[in-house]
């Protein structure tokens, strides 16, 4: 069939032309839904191998490197694009529609990229396409946020290109395969992946930009960029030990920030960061089972994270706010959204029978089997932390807790469908994980539903819930208040600009002082010279110009007289 010959990403790019030709409305909506379906079917039918090699300035680019690892990520990206576009059915904004297609296409292209140059092109493609989902909000704040986002994302791409160039000089190949950290080339590539994966201290673009995007844009953003980075790390740096520690820190610090954050979409962004940590730990451990854990957790995570962003987005769509301090009691008139949100919350918290449980335990189990006691303890703690913000805070303070008095209408039908399908998948994976396990890169020999697993996890979660109950009843739990919290981005948003302003001020004052000093000296010298040689000066006093002229006149007169007389 012809369609097998086309790189999957190109299907999305070609669809942009079709979309632009179609009128706004249901026709365009259907096309936007069809593209990921066709792409998904194509990916499903692909045989492992390398296709679509093209020559490019003497390099051979592998546009389609199909194996089980790239396939599972491409499939979930297609699914996420479908669900995102269904959720965005009401959007009549061409910018967002085109951006979503180009973004999904680039992410899928990057996943299939067999070499570093192809990867770089798609890597930048995701950056450029996705920023329009932020700018599409069309507000001053969104503009500035988008710029900050773009600086980080493009920066990541440029670092990748630098790394790829060095890598080529070092090894003579541009193939994107497993690498060993050590040379500047591999460190640069690692750093580039790390920026997109929101490593600690490189993470702020995530919490900054996702809450600033449009209602539907955030849902689409949440699926691709960071999971592309997870894929790239799994492909390039599996078994790199430092990732275990980076990942553990990633699971840990966002839970504190998420707990006190007021904007629920930012809470979810912190929570996303924490979930990435689990995947990164899996990559760091690097065993077949751990990588299975990472891939399956990415798959499940994209679904339940989308679901949570969708439910909070629906609330924002109906009420105009996603701030916990302004919400509460919405279950009365938005009960379906509330139920879907609870499914997402249960899935991310990894309650048994929900998707997070069957995927996260793969990683936790490998951390235990690999004898990383501290890492394991951190991950278990972080699991309780996930419950605190995504499991409890998001549904509780939006749909329950105190009554905000808001009585918004239930979410529109297409949003309910998008949330319903996603919620169904979250539960289906949780109850029957075998089809997902079959998609994973390696054979799976794992049984999540053992008594010990189920009871252990239920104990962890239910006792944590009990602690929440105690803290609420005693009034110790921090209230939701209208405020923002500083994070590391304060360094480059406030501190560094202020520092630069200080230094600039100091330099300019120093310069002015120096200039004034020399100007004064010059003026003094000029004045001294003037007083000595000026018309009133002492030097000019004895021999004035007038005297000179007089003497010349006298000499001239004498000469005339002598001339006349002789």
């Amino acid at each position: 069939m012809l369609i097998d010959q086309i790189p999957t990403a190109f299907l999305f790019f070609a669809a942009v032309l079709v979309v632009l030709g179609a009128p706004q409305g249901p026709v365009r909506g259907v096309i936007l839904l069809m593209v990921p379906v066709i792409a998904g079917l194509q990916v499903w039918s692909l045989e492992p191998g390398i296709f679509n090699q093209v020559e490019f300035f003497g390099f051979t680019l592998d546009l389609m490197r199909v194996d089980k690892l790239s396939r599972v990520f491409a499939l979930i990206f297609c699914l996420a694009a479908f669900l995102g576009n269904l959720y965005a059915w009401h959007v009549r904004d061409t910018v967002q529609q085109v951006a979503a297609l180009l973004y999904a296409g680039s992410a899928i292209g990057a996943v299939f990229a067999g070499d570093l140059i192809t990867l770089f092109f798609y890597w930048e493609g995701t950056a450029i396409a996705s920023v329009f989902l932020i700018w599409a909000r069309r507000s001053e704040g969104a503009y500035h946020t988008g710029m900050r986002y773009l600086v980080m994302q493009i920066g990541s791409g440029v670092i990748l290109l630098a790394g790829a160039a060095l890598f080529y000089r070092e090894t003579g190949t541009i193939a994107f395969e497993k690498m060993t950290l050590g040379s500047p080339a591999t460190w640069l590539i690692f750093l580039s992946f790390g920026i997109k994966c929101a490593f600690p201290l490189l993470h702020n673009w995530l919490q900054d930009s996702y809450p600033a995007a449009t209602v539907t844009g955030t849902v689409i953003l949440s699926a691709f960029t960071t999971k592309l980075a997870v894929y790239a790390l799994a492909r390039g740096f599996a078994g790199t030990e430092i990732l275990i520690y980076i990942g553990a820190v990633m699971t840990l610090f966002p839970i504190f920030f998420a707990e006190i954050e007021n904007d629920l979409r930012r809470v979810l962004a912190y929570s996303l960061n924490n979930q990435l940590g689990f995947m990164v730990v899996g990559i760091g451990i690097g065993t077949e089972m751990a990588l299975n854990g990472t891939a399956s957790h990415a798959f499940a995570h994209i679904l339940y994270k989308s679901l949570l962003f969708m439910s909070v987005g629906a609330v924002l769509f109906r009420t105009g706010t996603s701030k916990a301090s302004e919400l509460g009691g919405l279950y009365r008139t938005m009960p379906l959204t509330a139920v879907f949100c609870l499914v997402g919350a249960a899935s991310i918290s990894a309650f048994p029978l929900f998707s997070g449980f069957v995927t996260k335990s793969l990683i936790l189990d490998e951390a235990g089997a690999g004898h990383y006691p501290i890492i394991w303890a951190v991950l278990v703690f972080a699991s309780a932390g996930v419950l605190s913000h995504s499991g409890i805070k998001i549904p509780f303070f939006t749909f329950f807790a105190h009554d905000s008095g808001l009585r918004p209408k239930e979410a529109p039908t297409h949003m309910l469908w998008a949330m319903g399908i996603t919620a169904f998948l979250c539960i289906a994976i949780g109850i029957y994980p075998d089809p997902l396990y079959a998609l994973l890169p390696y054979e799976v020999e794992f049984h999540p539903y053992t008594t010990a697993h189920v009871v252990g996890q239920l104990q962890l979660l239910c006792f944590a819930l009990l602690a929440f109950g105690v803290l609420m009843r005693t009034g110790i739990h921090p209230p939701e208040i209208r405020a923002i919290n500083l994070d590391f981005d304060w360094i480059y948003r406030r501190f560094t600009p202020a520092l630069i302003a200080r230094v600039a001020n100091f330099i300019s004052r120093f310069w002015t002082a120096k200039m004034n000093f020399w100007m004064r000296r010059m003026t003094e010298i000029k004045t001294q010279l003037f007083s000595a040689y000026g018309p009133e000066g002492r030097v000019a006093q004895s021999q004035t110009t007038g005297a000179m002229v007089l003497w010349i006149a006298i000499f001239l007169g004498i000469t005339l007289i002598v001339n006349f007389l002789s």
Binding site: R137, S139, H144, R318, A369, F463, F468, N485
Partner: protein, 113 residues
């Protein structure tokens, strides 16, 4: 919401109303406490195959979850004291103080129709 008629709510919403009835919060809390107690007791009745010795302590996960969750909340509360700032801290460079543009929303009240 004076004079509000809860009969207008969707049926699912009406079913949830139970949680706001006086005493329901207590019932949920104590129900959860009893369930936690049961989970603790179950630990004595099956064989564990944990990777670490600490996992074999009865109720380990429960105790760990309770203590760490409480610690997390208290630490986060302390953290807030240090890093909390007003919403307009970053002024027009961030979306925090902005209203979401109304023309991109469909703010409909439930009682409107």
């Amino acid at each position: 919401m004076p004079n509000e008629n809860s009969d207008n709510y969707p049926w699912l919403g009406r079913m949830f109303l139970w949680v706001d009835k006086p005493g329901s919060a207590n019932k949920i809390f104590w129900g959860l406490a009893v369930f936690c107690g049961l989970l603790f007791l179950i630990d004595f009745f099956y064989e564990k195959h944990g990777h670490f010795d600490i996992e074999h302590i009865p109720g380990f996960y429960g105790i760990y979850g309770f203590v760490m969750f409480t610690g997390l909340i208290l630490l986060a509360k302390g953290l807030r004291v240090i890093i909390k700032r007003p919403e307009d801290y970053y002024a027009d460079k961030a979306v925090d103080r902005e209203e979401y543009p109304d023309d991109q929303l469909e703010k409909v009240d439930h009682n409107a129709d």
